[in-house]
Each structure stands twice: as structure tokens, then as C-alpha cells.
């Protein structure tokens, strides 16, 4: 198991390097000269060629491409993502707290997503083809068709405006979490409970279930066996769910004015604050890869067959 973990982590390193390189290249693909963007963001009235060269020298943009990349990568490893073009503050001081806020929202939502997906998935698989199964699946079909921001707006209108029960936006108290968590949970449970259900159903037809039933083991114990086996498949899907939710809270954060990564990134895109966009992409892509690696390791721990394949 130890050698598997080491191998898997070593495999992730080149991928992380490629990702960091692409993130760096991305900014240079912009049709705008970054130096001009900096000057525009600082609202310099007249942008002369002289000023552009000067800014380039200040930001180290006149150096060869690979050296720029090397310097940038080394700085990023020390959590120094440069300074915002617009405010001049260090990017980390803006993105760090925002990341924590988004992470809180994501983790709490993920707990609910996992709980409800397993619950609904198991119930539907046990009652396959019955009214319960059909209605839950039909309802989830509808839920996946609802844009999350629209649902969010509707909930805000009903619970916060009409009934005046919950705060409309912001992150001031524990109550502020209720609506965003509901919206995120609702938009993902519809997708993830299906995978739990289908892996439960696959397991139901296995020989060991037939054997267990034939030897008179109580149905509840058989269900537990099936559940443990089918959760293996779900684990990797759930590990991937966390970074996906992390990356797609953008819209929800904007509706609820949540002081997180999503809101920061959209604001930076609109004001063309490249260093923040760059840091945002890098941080999320790295999280994505790390969770991917984690899910492989967890899967291998649960299923020895996968470990053999690797060796």
C-alpha cells in the first residue's frame, strides 16, 4: 500500500507542473499586453510606450519567457502570487480568506450531498421500480434541469423576503449558511444519488448476495454488505465532487454575496485583474489534482484489486 501511495503521488507531480505551466501561458495568450492592463487598471490617463516599457521592467516582463515562468513558479510555491493590478494588495491576502470562506461552504454542502445521495440511492435501489424509486428519480430529473441561481433567487424571495426568516445575503451568522447549502445540495444530490443507486443495483445481482440470502442471513445484514461494496465506487465520485463543487459555487456565491473565491474571481475577470485570475485557476486546478490523487488512494485502500493493477 505504501509503495502505491508513493507511486501515485509521484505521478501527480508532472501533472501539477504541466498545469502550472498552462496557467502561466494562459495569461500570455491574452490579446492585451499585461503591462497595458496594469496601467489601465491603475487608471493612468495616458499610456505612452515609455510607460509600458517601464512597467514591463518593474514587473519583470522583459525577461525571457522561461525565466519568468521559473520565477513565478518559485514565488507561487511560497504562496506569493504577486500583487493585484487593481488594488495593489498582495493576491494571497485577498485570495486566502476568500478560499477559506468558499471551502467552509463547500465542505458543509458536501457533507449534506454525501448524506442525502447515499440515503436516496440506497432507498431507491431497495425499492427499484416501485413508486418511491420512480418518483424520486423523476423529481431528481426535474431538479437537475433547474438553474441553481434561479432556485437560489426563488428561495431568497420566499424565505428571506416573504417570510423574513433568513438573511438574504452575506456571511454574518450560522443562518447565512442555510440557503446556499440547500441550493448547492439540491443541485448535486440529483446527480450523485444516481451513481449510488446504480452501483447498489449492480451489486444486488452478484453471487455473494444470492449466497448470503440462500444461507438465511437476515436481509438487513445482506443490505449492509451490498452497501459496503457499492460505496467503493461512490467514494471516488464523492472525492471528485468536492473540487467540482468548490469550482462551481461561483454562481451561488454571487447570488448570495458570499465573500468567497467565486465572487472574487468574477470581479477580477470583469476588472481584468490577471494575477488574481491566475492564482484562482492555479489553486483550483491543484486542488482538483490533489483530490483526484486522494480518491485513487482511498479506492486502492478499499479495493486490493486496484493496487495490483498498478504494480
Amino acid at each position: 500500500m505504501g509503495s502505491f501511495i508513493v507511486k501515485r503521488i509521484l505521478l501527480a507531480i508532472p501533472l501539477l507542473l504541466i498545469i502550472s505551466f498552462l496557467t502561466f501561458v494562459l495569461i500570455n495568450l491574452s490579446p492585451l499586453d499585461p503591462a497595458v492592463v496594469v496601467l489601465q487598471a491603475q487608471e493612468v490617463p495616458q499610456i505612452t510606450d515609455e510607460l509600458v516599457t517601464q512597467t514591463k521592467a518593474e514587473l519583470g516582463m522583459d525577461q525571457p519567457f522561461l525565466i519568468q515562468y521559473g520565477n513565478w513558479l518559485l514565488a507561487c510555491l511560497q504562496l506569493d502570487f504577486g500583487e493585484s493590478y487593481v488594488t495593489g494588495n498582495s493576491v494571497w491576502s485577498m485570495i486566502g480568506p476568500a478560499f477559506v470562506n468558499t471551502l467552509k461552504l463547500t465542505l458543509i454542502s458536501s457533507v449534506f450531498i454525501i448524506l442525502f445521495s447515499i440515503l436516496l440511492g440506497v432507498v431507491c435501489a431497495m425499492r427499484e421500480g416501485k413508486t418511491m424509486d420512480k418518483s424520486v428519480r423523476g423529481f431528481s430529473f426535474l431538479l437537475t434541469a433547474i438553474p441553481s441561481y434561479w432556485l437560489a433567487a426563488m428561495l431568497i424571495w420566499y424565505f428571506s423576503v416573504k417570510l423574513d426568516l433568513l438573511p438574504t445575503s452575506g456571511m454574518d451568522s450560522a443562518q447565512s449558511y442555510i440557503l446556499p447549502v440547500i441550493v448547492i445540495t439540491v443541485s448535486y444530490v440529483g446527480i450523485y444519488f444516481r451513481s449510488v443507486r446504480s452501483s447498489m443495483l449492480n451489486n444486488l445481482n452478484e453471487d455473494y448476495v444470492l449466497y448470503a440470502r440462500a444461507s438465511g442471513i437476515p436481509e438487513r445484514k445482506v443490505t449492509l454488505h451490498i452497501l459496503r461494496n457499492s460505496l467503493q465506487v461512490s467514494v471516488s465520485i464523492f472525492c471528485m465532487a468536492i473540487p467540482i463543487v468548490l469550482g462551481s459555487t461561483v454562481v451561488i456565491e454571487n447570488v448570495f454575496a458570499w465573500p468567497g473565491l467565486g465572487r472574487l474571481s468574477v470581479r477580477s475577470i470583469l476588472s481584468r485583474d490577471f494575477p488574481i485570475i491566475q492564482a484562482y485557476v492555479l489553486i483550483l486546478a491543484v486542488t482538483f489534482v490533489l483530490f483526484n490523487t486522494l480518491s485513487d488512494i482511498v479506492n486502492a485502500a478499499l479495493n486490493p484489486k486496484l493496487r495490483k493493477e498498478f504494480e
Partner: protein, 298 residues
């Protein structure tokens, strides 16, 4: 032909298909269907409720909501279809080369796909829009750039499965050219897989594009787009919540219709699912897996 007959037996699918066809027609022929100019400002009619000449009422600038909804089909649905076609085409080319020729080409192309897929899709779309600037074209470019790898992977798997079939080996042995083999023997059989993955991707694409427009990153005012209309309605959400209804329901209806259609397509086009009991156990299972993987891919 048999596939079409299978599909036509599914009433829900046919209803969804007719809805989609009518909507696409309305979008293409928007000037004929829309009762008013979608960008015509009429301050006298601000927030007017539904009337005979303005069936769905007027928005904060007195513009006709129904006309804006009809014109909104173009960016919200038609352009999404174009972006989908472009990325499926790109993915199919890579997938066919990779799956048919195998070997080194395949290894290199699939490595590239793996790298593309290791980026979180939504974040990358945001990044591309961030670099190129807000606007519908840039979102569509971002979509094609981010989605092709996913299609390439699925299509490759499908091609590989058929390129080892005896009849393909026979054709190769008798000296039929590669292009002809692909064209005559592989495209027709993999077509159903391609149709299924593209139809199941369209839903998440429509939702994401309207979401980006909702954030102000997509279509720019005064052009009409559903997400954009919701964004405008949100500002007056507390006093005029009814403005959120029409564009929101439009999105829900379209996405549900595509959802049902893709579900039915999957059953109708898959010969394996048809030979087993139609609508039986297999159906639900297959669907569930497809959906889960699709969203991970996005």
C-alpha cells in the same frame, strides 16, 4: 430507420422532440414570431403586467418580455448547439484517429486529453473568459476548448470497440483504404454513441452558459439572453419577483426536454438495451452511470 421507430414509440420523447423543434424554429425565425422589437425601450410601460399586446408583460425598461424570450433562444440554445457541434466534431476527429490507428498516436493524444480533463472544466471556462474578456463568443470558444477532450475520450472508447471487429479486419485485409473503412464501417456504428453523449452534454452546457450570462460574463446588454434577463430581474427581485418567472421556466423546460430526449435516445439507439426488455432494469442503470460521468467530465 428502426431506431427512429423505436424513438417514436416513446410519447414523452416525442413531446420533448416537438417542443425542441418548435423552439429552434422560433429562435431561427425570431423576427416572425416575436410580437415586438426585443430592444425597444418604452418607459411608459415599465413593469406593466401582462396584457393582450404584451402577453408576458414588460421589464424594467418597458421592453416586451415575450419578444426578449423568443430572441433569447438564439444565444441560449442555438449558439450552444453550435458550440456543442464544434466540440463534438473536434472530439470525433481526435477520437477516430486515436481509436482507429492506436499505438503511439493514441498514447500521445490520450495524454493530452488526460491533461485537459485534469483541469476543472468550469474554472477553466471562467479562466478563458477572464483572459479573452466577457462576451458570448469567448464563452463559446472556452466551451469548445474545454469540452473536446471529454468527447474524444468517449468516442475513442467506442471506436476501439468496433475497430477490432472481424468485418473491419476483413476490410483492412482486403485492402480497403483507412478512410473508407472509417466512413463505411465505423462511423455508422459509433454514431449512436456520439448522439447519446452529445445530447446528454447539451443540458449542462445550456445551464452553464445561462449561468455565465447571469454573472454578466456572457451576452452583453441590450441583447436578450435568458440568463441575462434573470440577472436584470434579480435587481428588482424584491419588488417585482414575477419577472424572474418566465426566463427561469424557459430554461427549466428546455433543459428538461433535452434531458428526456437524451434519455430516450440512449434507449432507442442502443441495440443491446433494446434486445433486453425495453424499459426494464438495464435502462435506469445505464442512464444513471452516464449522467454521473458526464457531470464529472464537465
Amino acid at each position: 430507420m428502426r431506431n427512429l421507430r423505436n424513438l417514436s414509440q416513446d410519447k414523452l420523447a416525442m413531446a420533448s422532440l416537438s417542443f425542441i423543434v418548435v423552439m429552434i424554429a422560433a429562435g431561427v425565425l425570431a423576427p416572425l414570431f416575436a410580437p415586438h422589437d426585443p430592444e425597444e425601450v418604452n418607459m411608459k410601460l415599465r413593469y406593466a403586467s401582462a396584457s393582450w399586446s404584451y402577453l408576458l408583460g414588460n421589464d424594467h425598461l418597458g421592453r416586451c418580455v415575450l419578444s426578449r424570450l423568443i430572441y433569447g433562444i438564439r444565444p441560449s440554445v442555438l449558439w450552444v448547439l453550435v458550440a456543442l457541434l464544434a466540440s463534438v466534431l473536434l472530439g470525433a476527429i481526435v477520437g477516430f484517429i486515436s481509436g482507429y490507428f492506436k499505438g503511439k498516436t493514441d498514447a500521445i493524444l490520450m495524454r493530452v486529453c488526460d491533461i485537459m480533463l485534469s483541469f476543472p472544466g468550469y474554472v477553466m471556462t471562467l479562466a478563458v473568459v477572464g483572459i479573452l474578456g466577457a462576451g458570448l463568443e469567448n464563452i463559446l470558444i472556452a466551451f469548445v476548448v474545454m469540452k473536446w477532450a471529454w468527447f474524444a475520450r468517449v468516442i475513442r472508447t467506442s471506436v476501439m470497440q468496433y475497430s477490432e471487429m472481424d468485418y473491419v479486419k476483413f476490410a483492412r485485409a482486403s485492402g480497403v483504404s483507412h478512410l473508407r473503412i472509417i466512413h463505411k464501417h465505423i462511423v455508422p456504428v459509433t454514431f449512436s454513441d456520439i448522439a447519446v453523449i452529445s445530447s446528454s452534454s447539451i443540458c449542462s452546457m445550456i445551464l452553464q452558459i445561462s449561468g455565465l450570462s447571469f454573472l454578466g460574463l456572457g451576452v452583453q446588454a441590450p441583447q436578450a439572453e435568458w440568463g441575462m434577463m434573470l440577472n436584470e430581474a434579480r435587481e428588482v427581485m424584491f419588488s417585482r419577483p414575477e419577472l424572474m418567472l418566465a426566463p427561469g421556466l424557459a430554461i427549466v423546460l428546455v433543459v428538461s426536454a433535452f434531458n428526456f430526449l437524451s434519455d430516450a435516445l440512449q434507449v432507442a439507439l442502443d441495440p443491446k438495451l433494446m434486445t433486453s426488455k425495453p424499459g426494464g432494469k438495464l435502462r435506469g442503470r445505464k442512464r444513471g452511470e452516464q449522467v454521473a460521468y458526464e457531470y464529472i467530465g464537465s
